[in-house]
């Protein structure tokens, strides 16, 4: 497992010293994290990497996972979709199931601690056991246009918290409690992001029959309509009229997700027999994703809707020029024409790709700027630093505070 010293090449000794200084001011605090799963999903992935760093900083930090049955998680999945604004049929029984499990967890779990940090809606009811300690609720979902019934239900609990956290300004709502902005992050030392030798990159490309004899444009994402894979093919075709290139569409889909398989079928049909379109249905393999990104000339993310879109930060970290839709958290990661290209349509994406393929120096500069932007703003250590600052905010209420 990596320690703070392994991050010094990215953040400098001063960055490591700052983490130690903040931790020193929290050394008497018992900090507790709660979510709904120990593995799988972005929250668990980040907590798995962050907890050892917190312990190395001598913080008394603990992470607990709530218990819930199949019914409960079916309801929370519906809640998740509804918070994203999707139409879901949610019954009174669904709310009952949610509350029964929430109450049971609140009764059974050890909820002692000074700072209680609760992730997402599933464990939200733990706050019913709030005493004089501080409670923070982190929302990883875009709740800018939620199903009002679900939002009103959750809001009753949210208001019992001392503060909330959102990943992007546009994801938040007006609330009478403090709201902090903390973006998610990537780990530069993970398999998905660490440096790879050129031969490893070429081996993965070779495995999938991709040869770099013409520029490679890649989109990596699930076969999901919101990622617009068919639009990606249309974009590629517009580019191909003027610049010979190849397209890689790589991602996974759950076998029990009929829509994912349907989308994959549509994508294959649209690609027809074009030998320069590589459609890769991949199992979860971080090193291969890493290699595909590194082996590409341009990374595309033509999503119609997006959460934060950390695939952008992953690509930028590898110094790649990125063309991406201006949706969700993507504009926070790309400043148009400075650290990438933002687009709003198939035609706009194609135009940007043509520009970058024909101006490689400009493309290289965007990639360089993007990597610096990620280094300064989207690495795991920044994420950890902001959590520590937020914990300090629980005792310091001013806009300018002195730690001396």
């Amino acid at each position: 497992m990596n320690g703070i010293k392994d991050y010094i090449p990215f953040i400098g000794q001063s960055g490591a010293d700052e983490l130690a200084l903040l931790a020193e001011h929290l050394k008497d605090k018992k900090i507790r994290f709660f979510n709904s799963t120990a593995v799988g999903g972005g929250v668990a992935e980040i907590l798995n990497r962050m907890m050892p760093l917190m312990r190395e900083l001598n913080l008394e930090a603990r992470w607990d996972v709530i218990k819930g049955g199949e019914q409960f998680f079916a309801v929370t999945k519906k809640f998740h979709n509804a918070l994203h604004g999707r139409l879901e049929e949610i019954t009174g029984r669904d709310f009952d199931v949610f509350m029964e499990t929430g109450l049971r967890n609140a009764e059974e779990m050890d909820l002692s601690g000074d700072i209680m940090f609760v992730h997402d809606p599933q464990p939200i009811m733990l706050v019913d056991k709030k005493k004089s300690n501080k409670w923070i609720w982190r929302c990883h979902v875009d709740v800018s246009a939620p199903d009002e019934r679900v939002w009103s239900f959750l809001r009753e609990y949210i208001l019992k918290y001392d503060a909330s956290v959102f990943s992007a300004p546009s994801f938040s709502r007006v609330l009478p409690i403090r709201q902090f902005l903390v973006a998610p992050s990537i780990d530069p030392l993970s398999d998905k992001n660490r440096d790879l030798p050129e031969e490893s990159v070429l081996a993965v490309l070779g495995k999938y029959g991709i040869y770099r004899d013409k520029p490679v444009i890649t989109q990596i994402s699930r076969f999901d309509r919101l990622k617009d894979p068919v639009g990606v093919i249309e974009t590629y075709r517009l580019v191909k009229k003027h610049v010979d290139c190849q397209l890689v569409l790589a991602g996974g889909t759950a076998v029990d997700d009929p829509e994912g398989l349907q989308v994959l079928a549509e994508v294959r049909e649209r690609a027809a027999d074009d030998k320069d379109i590589h459609i890769l249905l991949m199992p979860q393999n971080d090193i291969e994703v890493n290699a595909l990104q590194r082996g590409s000339d341009i990374i595309l993310q033509k999503s119609l809707k997006e959460g934060f879109g950390l695939t952008i930060a992953e690509a930028l970290w590898k110094g790649k020029p990125v063309v991406a839709s201006a949706v969700g958290g993507i504009p926070l990661q790309i400043t148009h024409r400075y650290s990438g290209m933002l687009c709003h349509s198939i035609e706009g994406a194609a135009f940007a790709i043509k520009q970058l393929l024909q101006a490689p120096e400009y493309a290289r500069k965007l990639g360089e700027n993007g990597r610096e932007h990620v280094r300064n703003n989207f690495l795991l250590t920044r994420h950890l630093k902001e959590y520590l600052l937020m914990f300090l905010c629980m005792e310091h209420g001013k806009d300018l505070n002195r730690l001396f």
């Binding site: 400098g12 001063s14 700052e18 200084l21 903040l22 959102f166 300004p169 546009s170 938040s172 709502r173 007006v174 609330l175 403090r178 709201q179 902090f180 902005l181 903390v182 201006a326 949706v327 400043t335 148009h336 400075y338 700027n369 610096e372 932007h373 300064n376 703003n377 630093k385 902001e386 600052l389 937020m390 300090l392 905010c393 310091h396 001013k398 806009d399 300018l400 505070n401 002195r402 730690l403 001396f404």
Partner: protein, 222 residues
């Protein structure tokens, strides 16, 4: 070459900050104007200084969020230029910066009827944010100009940022900490004046460090 010890040593501090959401947002110029008038000073500071901290090595144009939004989301390039070129370094307080932004938008609205009709799309609204800062001592001190230059070379960008921007505007000292110490304790009023005259809004954070060092080294060589 001046080697005299200063009356008081300079204590280097640094800062770390977190962004807080206000829940306030604007979709057109009139809404932006109304909110700029009423948001806390820490919002004005955030939106006029965020770029400097976020883009350490390159300074994209324009340097403040208001100008950036007006240009990219409303397409009002003349107003964007006017907002971007506000000479923040000559304004002594966040109140003065706020007043200048307000008068710039008011002037523009009074001359451009069409500007009132323009709205940003739903996903391009301007969200008002504020900076919550924590200031702490770095343990570094300087008792002479020589030591001062040596420390400027080594301190973090956040430390430079604190003494140049936050001390002047958020602690309302009227000038940056470096110039205050050079004139009041180190007996270097001309050097202080030269640093005060710098425009730190048109260079990168590392560029600012280099320019401060150049000024000090020229003085030491004199």
């Amino acid at each position: 070459m001046p080697t005299a010890e200063a009356k008081d040593e300079f204590r280097f501090y640094s800062r770390l900050s977190l962004t807080e959401l206000t829940g306030l947002r604007a979709a057109n110029l009139e809404q932006l104007l109304a909110l700029v008038r009423e948001v806390p000073d820490s919002c004005i500071f955030h939106h006029t200084h965020r770029f400097l901290r976020q883009h350490l090595h390159l300074s994209p144009e324009p340097p403040n969020d208001f100008a950036y939004w007006v240009f990219h989301s409303l397409g009002e390039d003349r107003l964007a230029e006017a907002l971007a070129s506000i000479d923040i370094v000559r304004l002594e307080s966040l109140g003065a910066i706020r007043a200048k932004i307000v008068s710039t938008i008011e002037d523009y609205l009074s001359r451009s009827v069409q500007a009132k009709q323009r709205f940003a799309s739903e996903d391009e609204a301007f969200y008002f944010l504020k900076s919550v800062s924590f200031v702490f001592p770095t343990g570094r001190t300087a008792g002479s100009l020589q030591e001062f230059a040596a420390q400027i070379r080594q301190i973090t960008i956040d430390s430079i940022y604190f003494h140049m921007f936050e001390a002047r505007l958020r602690l309302e000292k009227g000038n940056n900490d470096f110039s205050l110490w050079l004139s009041e304790s180190a007996g270097e009023p001309e050097l202080a004046q030269a640093i005060t005259r710098l425009d730190p809004y048109t260079c990168t954070a590392e560029g600012l460090r280099s320019r401060i060092l150049d000024i000090i080294e020229r003085r030491r060589a004199a």
